[in-house]
């Protein structure tokens, strides 16, 4: 099986306990769980930002520690909608940071790279805003800037940590349509943390439920059983489906 992420017996201090799962190319996966349940820690372990106490993470079949092809992974961290408002940086400059890993005194951004930047800027609908300071944008617009920055390196996997915090409902809808398009048209594997159960009902293929340990890694319909929700959030849950 062509797995892009393999996690085996992963432990990190007291936050993550013996978690194992595999993600295959083209998956669209939501991570859900209560606050403090280890969702962000799990993502940070996969990204190599923290080192596991024990267990293994493999990316594209290679051990995380030996994995060097970082441009294959795009990451949008938590809180992008609340960036430092006094940081003097434009939309264009932020998106260009996606090429920083290969920039140096002797290699300026190529014509192809610049053309691709313009393509991505247009794709996320930021053409008119590209010379604006990031501090002048709304939460939803900032979110699109960070996704554009993550897409610049043409990643195979896009990892997002609660991307919709501080974003209005209309922008959220546009955002999830965009993620769906990236997954279905561009075949980008998507892994994101959310508290929004409506999204899970919608587009995702699988749901990772964690509360320190892995409670379930199932098809979305299995997860939306009341028993799973009750185990996850520790309350009696009643899941109601509707068509709107």
């Amino acid at each position: 099986m062509d797995y892009v992420i393999e996690v085996k017996n992963l432990n990190y201090k007291t936050y993550i306990e013996d978690i194992s799962f595999n993600i295959k190319r083209g998956d669209y996966i939501a991570i859900i769980g209560p606050n403090g349940g280890g969702k962000s820690t799990l993502i940070r372990l996969v990204l190599g930002l923290i080192v596991p106490t024990s267990g293994k993470v493999k990316l594209f079949g290679k051990d995380r520690v030996n994995f060097k092809n970082n441009s294959k992974i795009g990451y949008v961290p938590q809180g992008v909608t609340k960036n430092d408002s006094s940081f003097p940086i434009t939309v264009y400059e932020v998106i260009k940071l996606g090429f920083a890993y290969k920039s140096s005194l002797f290699s300026s951004t190529s014509i192809e790279d610049r053309a691709y930047m313009e393509f991505i800027i247009d794709k996320v609908g930021l053409t008119d805003l590209k010379n604006r300071l990031i501090s002048q944008l709304s939460g939803g617009q900032r979110q699109r800037v960070m996704i554009a920055r993550a897409l610049i390196s043409k990643p195979d996997i896009l990892i997002l940590d609660e991307p919709n915090t501080g974003v209005d409902t209309n922008s959220q809808k546009i955002f999830y349509d965009f993620l769906k398009e990236l997954n279905q048209k561009d075949n980008i594997t998507i892994l994101f943390i959310t508290h929004d159960l409506e999204v899970i009902v919608g587009d995702v293929t699988k749901v990772l439920c964690i509360n320190r340990s892995l409670l379930s890694y199932e098809d979305k319909n299995e997860v939306l059983q009341c028993s799973t929700m009750s185990e996850l959030y520790g309350i009696d849950a009643h899941v109601m489906h509707h068509n709107h």
Partner: protein, 266 residues
């Protein structure tokens, strides 16, 4: 111009302009990371280096630079590996190294005469050798900043995300504190330990008032910094007042006018 008939003033202008360029361009990365206290802490740590220079009768410029770089690495190591607030860490090193500097200078019996020059700076102290060191380092630093500009900007904007794209954030952090440490070690002779922090921070904050991109803000900061140094040196020469303090007052005036202009045209 009368002022340019004096060799020591020409040396002061050359050294001052190099320091202005270095201090403001490095200051951009320091200020946006909310790490402004770093320059003040390293300035006091440089004083400890100067004290070692007096004690062992070696070049104070080199002893200041080596001490500042060594301790800047220690600060960066502690910041990355221990759960200590950055500002508290800097406060500890600032006061600790100043205390040590005073003790070491007392032991070398050069307290009154020499310390004052290094606290407030002295333009006549710039030798031809200092010019070679400052200009060589200045050119090397500008090349390094240009080479790593995008990566330094990324690390300043979001260190975690920069790391996930394969950028060696640890190397860049050590590089940045080293360049800041060397710049300060070189500068305290001219601008003074108590004032170099201001030259690193004030032009950047002034430039940020104009709401431009990072690159344009950096260019504005360099222009403000060079203007402060040149005006400060000219005024201090003709009015016979201390150069370091005059340079910082010029930077402050630019800051106030930037604030004022921003208020009017907003």
């Amino acid at each position: 111009m009368e002022i340019l008939q004096y060799d020591f003033m020409i040396r002061a202008f050359i050294a001052g302009v190099f320091i202005a360029i270095l201090a403001s361009s490095l200051g951009m990365f320091v200020v946006v990371r909310r790490y402004s206290m770093l320059s003040d802490a390293l300035a006091h740590i440089s004083l400890l280096g100067v004290a070692f220079g007096f004690l062992f009768s070696i070049s104070t410029t080199w002893s200041a630079m080596v001490t500042a770089v060594t301790i800047s690495w220690l600060i960066e190591y502690l910041r990355r590996n221990y759960n200590i607030y950055s500002d508290s860490l800097l406060a500890i090193f600032l006061t600790g190294s100043l205390s040590l500097a005073i003790i070491v200078i007392s032991l070398s019996h050069s307290f009154n005469v020499s310390l004052f020059n290094y606290l407030f700076g002295s333009i006549v102290a710039v030798s031809a050798n200092d010019i070679y060191v400052i200009s060589s380092f200045g050119i090397l630093s500008v090349l390094l900043i240009t080479n790593f500009y995008q990566k330094l900007l990324f690390v300043s904007f979001d260190e975690d995300v920069a790391f996930t794209t394969g950028i060696n954030t640890s190397f860049l952090n050590y590089l940045l504190v080293s360049l800041v440490a060397i710049t300060i070690g070189l500068s305290i002779k001219i601008v003074g330990a108590l004032l170099i922090g201001a030259l690193m921070v004030i032009p950047v904050i002034s430039a940020m008032q104009y709401g431009k991109s990072f690159l344009k803000t950096a260019i504005l900061a360099v222009i403000f910094s060079i203007s402060s140094v040149v005006l400060g040196l000219i005024i201090s020469f003709y009015v016979s007042i201390p150069s370091g303090a005059t340079i910082v007052v010029m930077a402050l005036l630019i800051f106030i006018s930037s604030l004022f202009k921003n208020k009017i045209f907003r």
